[in-house]
Symmetry: C2
Subunit: 348 residues, 2 copies
């Protein structure tokens, strides 16, 4: 056996080396101190240009990748952004998430997804667990959460942007649109088409769904049809099958109905398909309108009239706003209304 290398005869060091290339390695390679490397790599100013380049070169040469855990521990702030959404089964939220992620990932942030299932307890648990990770930022859906959850967010000091609704509270940050105005607009479209017995059919019943229902009632009241308000609300999760069932139920219980505004496109798509099965003529017998303009709505027979909502733009702009907040920059417009669009197709 060849003699062992002299070093191995040295007193065993208590080493837990992970084999990673560290900041110290880069510093040694570049011939500067670790702090200078840290600053140069983060682009923190006050590092001489020449040193900066030397550090960059060394980091590249060694294939250095910063350790997020060490960074988080030292700075008391991670590179995570926690995103809280109610459900993954609603395409709307998946698209929102996709847009947020697309904006955040290239900037070096990691998205942590929390699904709350519209449940206050679950939301608090998720929030508690996320906050332990000291996220750099938070994106939450709407304002529908328990006082406890709200207190946790505020107490954490973590920058937070609300999405889907536009808030007005001082100090709040939000990107969305007026659910109520949107509900009113699509109802107005139905009224403009001569409909006078318009029902509002909703499921899931989250706050936004209820706001759309208020917009619906506003429009009827404004048209002098206040006593015609007819809401069919189901706490069940939204689905195409449920939409079909609710269509049948409305037509049975209120045969006068000449138009239905469904709170979400999946219900409306299901209703359209059920109408086809049942031989109900849409829009002649009953006009059908949806909400959100989800995938497939333009393919229905007849194509679904609905409200297009800018969830991708909401996700992008919320991410941009949050990045400003995380960098400590000023946000000139803290509550952004991105509007919506009534999409007139053949079903109403």
């Amino acid at each position: 056996m060849p003699p062992r290398h002299p070093d191995s005869a040295a007193p065993a060091r208590r080493t837990r080396a992970t084999g990673r290339v560290t900041l110290a390695d880069v510093a040694r390679e570049a011939g500067v101190s670790p702090i200078t490397v840290s600053r140069a790599l983060r682009g923190e100013r006050a590092v001489a240009k020449e040193l900066c380049e030397r550090v960059q070169a060394a980091a590249t040469a060694l294939g250095y990748v910063p350790d997020p855990a060490a960074r988080a521990l030292a700075s008391a702030r991670s590179s995570h952004v926690a995103v809280l959404i109610p459900k993954l089964s609603n395409t709307l939220f998946v698209e929102l998430l996709d847009a947020v992620q697309t904006s955040l990932v290239p900037a070096g942030y990691q998205t942590l997804i929390g699904v709350t299932h519209y449940d206050a307890g679950e939301e608090e648990a998720v929030l508690r667990s996320f906050l332990a990770h000291r996220p750099a930022g938070l994106i939450v859906t709407g304002r529908d959460r328990s006082p406890a959850a709200t207190a946790m967010i505020e107490g954490s000091g973590v920058p937070c942007v609300h999405v889907m609704e536009v808030l007005a509270e001082p100090g709040s940050h939000s990107v969305g649109f007026s659910q109520r105005d949107a509900g009113r607009a699509i109802t107005q479209h139905l009224l403009d088409g001569g409909r006078r017995h318009i029902a509002y059919v909703a499921a899931q019943l989250d706050p936004r769904t209820l706001e759309r229902g208020e917009g619906y009632a506003d429009a009827l009241a404004q048209a002098g049809l206040g006593e015609r308000v007819h809401k069919l609300l189901s706490p069940e999760p939204s689905s195409m099958a449920l939409g079909g069932e609710m269509l049948a139920r409305v037509l049975r219980e209120a045969p006068d109905t000449d138009a239905i505004f469904f709170c979400n496109d999946d219900l409306a798509q299901g209703a359209l398909l059920a109408a086809l099965r049942l031989g109900v003529d849409v829009p002649r017998r009953v006009a059908i309108a949806g909400f959100n303009d989800l995938p497939g709505s333009d393919q229905m027979l007849p194509p679904l009239t609905t409200v297009a909502t800018p969830r991708r733009e909401i996700g992008e702009q919320a991410a941009q706003m949050l990045m400003k907040l995380m960098r400590g920059e000023a946000v000139e417009q803290p509550n952004v209304d991105l509007g919506f669009q009534v999409v007139k197709r053949a079903s109403a």
Copy 2:
């Protein structure tokens, strides 16, 4: 002004205290050493029962929440599980993700989602960034990745479970089903129904889609219809609108076609709707079959015949298997085949 508290006269300590309740606080409260607290809370054996309870009580009393960053830094392993999926716009992957998350979160793991957009470069970039976080585990879709990405995974030593396909390589871990067998089975169903001019229509063209196409060709060959293989493959992303277009194209270019197997239900749903618009009688003129049994397929007119795939079970079992691997436990069956089910409805 009242005299300041004596303590504040002490030489300014260089403190960066975050205000968090730490392990040390719990140790002090319980009257034991921090290591004991660490061990008791992690459930690592070799802690006296009495001490264990004392520690638990102290932790609860102080509202202690472990710091994941410190934990990750000290143990060289985070509580993150990275999940790589191709797209968020395919419901299939969202459901898979949902199932994984539902299993992992209660066990204390955080899910990090990486969307690869079926792009090797993006997958490598995402992987590199995730691996820097020293994830405790990895879940990846299929075996479709570059050699570089595969090398990164293996080199990292992070436990990894593949989903959607069943692998056979020694040392691999996977939960899925045979895409090829499934493609063969649904084609066989079409053959059993007397169809003899069956086309396979696919988009996106990921490896699983191609495997289904091979299963389709297998079935035809076995029926002595090898020369009738007719594949229409589009690299475009899958969508309902595309399904409608492809239906029209097949019927125009190959009027003999009496059945179409679409590689995914969104295409098939679009085809069904297009058939309705065009007045094409399904299944009389042409039978239509899909794949995955996505939401809405049972609501179509006619209801869509398809292959139900167990993505939720795949997600759950992959999570369970991964947890075993992360705990260093043995996995008795490393490659699990969960099968599939041909769902016979009215469209074929």
